[in-house]
């Protein structure tokens, strides 16, 4: 709905308008396209009591937990991929932090199924899972239904319908018609499940670019509330075709996150101490030289008739 132009706004405005204390918040993206820029702005604006949901909390939720934004975490794998632990998360769970972080835990399939149910506006999703595991014992929201045809019992998970979902993408037009390539994770489902959607893009493009390749559109503008243009907004995560993952920073986070003082210094210097993403990037002048993507172009296809 609404006028196209009005959706394009700064990250500060988008977070101020669409992310509220106590919200169920999703910043999705499986390794790829994790919107650190949005997480940092949420920290800067001091949001509290958030229920943070993601398959993989990754460094961004570790930072948001350390910054005191989170009341609860809904997730399926909480680690630093290929490196080790998320130590702020671990401290919050292992009781070395107060108040404790509430956990609601699934497997990846369970989280994907929760988003799928939310996106389809079904109250639950059936899946063949969890038999023989301890997950239903610690998470009573994992239930079951009986198939009306075969009599089989199938596991169920309840729909996840976030208050706000933030999706990073390669490009969108001013109305929020959004195209993603490379790993697409569960972003489409998370966006459709959500009451409000913020799209953050590497490039704002003309509608004609979107219309030249409609099969690439993952999220239609009709479900998007805000479009934020934030190049390198996923760093240290990556954007296929734009910049590589900053594995050095993921490695460095191991030492930073082990030390609450070091996290505070990191947040002070790179998050709370900067007004916006442009300043964050200006403080790291080597990124472009180190991480800018090489060309590896897809061939064209014909949409004519």
């Amino acid at each position: 709905m609404a006028e196209s132009a009005s959706k394009v706004m700064s990250m500060r405005d988008a977070v101020a308008r669409f992310v509220r204390d106590g919200d169920i918040v999703v910043i999705e993206g499986f390794t790829h396209l994790i919107c650190f820029a949005a997480g940092h702005e949420i920290i800067r604006q001091g949001r509290r009591d958030l229920t943070l949901c993601r398959l993989t909390p990754d460094l961004i939720y570790d930072q948001m937990i350390a910054a005191g934004c989170a009341r609860k975490l809904v997730f399926s794998w909480a680690g630093n991929p290929g490196v080790g632990s998320l130590h702020a998360f671990r401290r919050a769970v292992e009781g070395k932090h107060a108040p404790p972080l509430e956990l609601e835990e699934y497997s990846h399939f369970g989280m994907v199924a929760r988003f799928s149910a939310g996106a389809a506006r079904l109250p639950f999703w059936p899946l063949r899972d969890y038999m023989g595991t301890d997950l239903p014992r610690v998470n009573p929201r994992i239930q079951s239904v009986t198939c009306p045809y075969t009599g089989e019992r199938l596991a169920t998970v309840p729909a996840l319908n976030p208050d706000v979902t933030i999706i990073h993408a390669q490009r969108a037009d001013a109305d929020g018609n959004t195209q993603i390539w490379g790993l697409v994770g569960v972003q489409k489902e998370a966006a459709f499940a959500s009451a409000r959607v913020i799209v953050v893009v590497e490039q704002l493009v003309d509608e004609t670019v979107i219309r030249s390749d409609p099969n690439r559109t993952a999220i239609p503008g009709m479900i998007v509330d805000a479009v934020v243009v934030e190049p390198w907004g996923a760093h240290p995560s990556y954007a296929q075709g734009y910049y590589d993952r900053d594995n050095d920073f993921y490695l460095a986070w191991e030492a930073i996150s082990r030390d609450p003082g070091a996290i505070e210094r990191y947040l002070g210097e790179f998050v709370r101490g900067v007004p916006d993403r442009a300043t964050y990037l200006a403080k790291q002048p080597g990124l472009a030289a180190r991480l800018t993507a090489q060309p590896h172009l897809a061939g064209a296809v014909n949409y004519g008739f």
């Binding site: 709905m1 609404a2 006028e3 196209s4 996106a119 389809a120 506006r121 079904l122 018609n177 489409k188 489902e189 459709f192 509608e207 979107i210 219309r211 030249s212 409609p214 099969n215 559109t217 239609p220 503008g221 009709m222 479900i223 949409y303 004519g304 008739f305």
Partner: protein, 254 residues
């Protein structure tokens, strides 16, 4: 300026669409109505076809809802699982257009069979997406020409549910959408009465009298206390329909 019943029906349907709305489009007059609205008062109308084309801007009149012209230059193409789950069931479709071989007193539609299901006199195509459009679209607009055969008191088969079935309201049956709030015919506009769900006469086309409309439905047609009068098609509407949207009169037949 002279005009045909099809031209007026299409213009009336177009006027029902608000700018920016997301519309599930059928082929024929509804497609013309949506494109007429886009070119007049509703330039930001989003057209979605059940085939998966979103934000279509067809450069020719599509003969089917799967026409290649609906894809070329559209905003998005998605699979049909997404159309039905993420868009329709999700509640993102604001307006759905429906027609029917039969429309009954409560807006129930039949596109399945005339006669019995097992031994039909006429086998019609069936639901397609109509059942779920009728259930999920936030409101539906029915477009159909009046005749006692087309508007019986009770349809032979309910393909797409209306406002009430066997005395039970659609809300009580668990349907999310508001249902067939308006039925746009070639002589008048009927509306579902908010209290009873019954289709009642709400507005007359130019030159049409109440009795003429009542003769075209198979139940005693009630009227709103104050009947509206529908304006004839404007010169702009007629010019767009005739010169731009359907110059070969593929759909504006009658």
């Amino acid at each position: 300026m002279a005009y045909t019943p099809d031209e007026l029906m299409t213009s009336v349907a177009a006027r029902e669409l608000a700018d920016g709305e997301v519309v599930f489009v059928g082929i024929g007059l509804p497609n013309l109505a949506c494109n007429l609205a886009r070119r007049t008062h509703a330039p930001h109308l989003v057209l979605i076809y059940e085939s998966g084309a979103v934000g279509a801007v067809p450069e020719r009149l599509p003969m089917s809802i799967g026409d290649p012209a609906l894809v070329t230059g559209s905003l998005m193409v998605c699979g049909m699982a997404d159309v039905f789950q993420l868009m329709l069931q999700n509640g993102r479709i604001e307006v759905g257009f429906l027609g029917g071989a039969q429309v009954d007193q409560y807006g129930n539609l039949n596109t399945t069979v005339i006669g019995s299901y097992r031994h039909p006199a006429v086998r019609l195509p069936g639901s397609g997406g109509a059942a779920e459009i009728a259930i999920h679209a936030r409101r539906t607009l029915v477009v159909s020409k009046l005749s006692a055969r087309t508007f019986p008191a009770r349809v032979d088969f309910v393909t797409s549910p209306g406002m009430r079935r066997d005395g039970v309201t659609r809300h009580e049956l668990g349907m999310p959408g508001a249902g067939p709030v308006k039925v746009i015919t070639d002589k008048a506009v009927l509306e579902a009465d908010a209290a009873t769900g019954e289709l009642v006469l709400a507005a007359l086309y130019p030159g049409v009298e109440e009795a003429e409309v009542g003769a075209g439905v198979g139940w005693p047609l009630r009227c709103r206390p104050r009947l509206a009068r529908i304006d004839p098609p404007t010169a702009t509407e007629l010019r767009l329909l005739r010169e731009v949207l359907d110059p070969k009169r593929l759909y504006l037949r009658g």
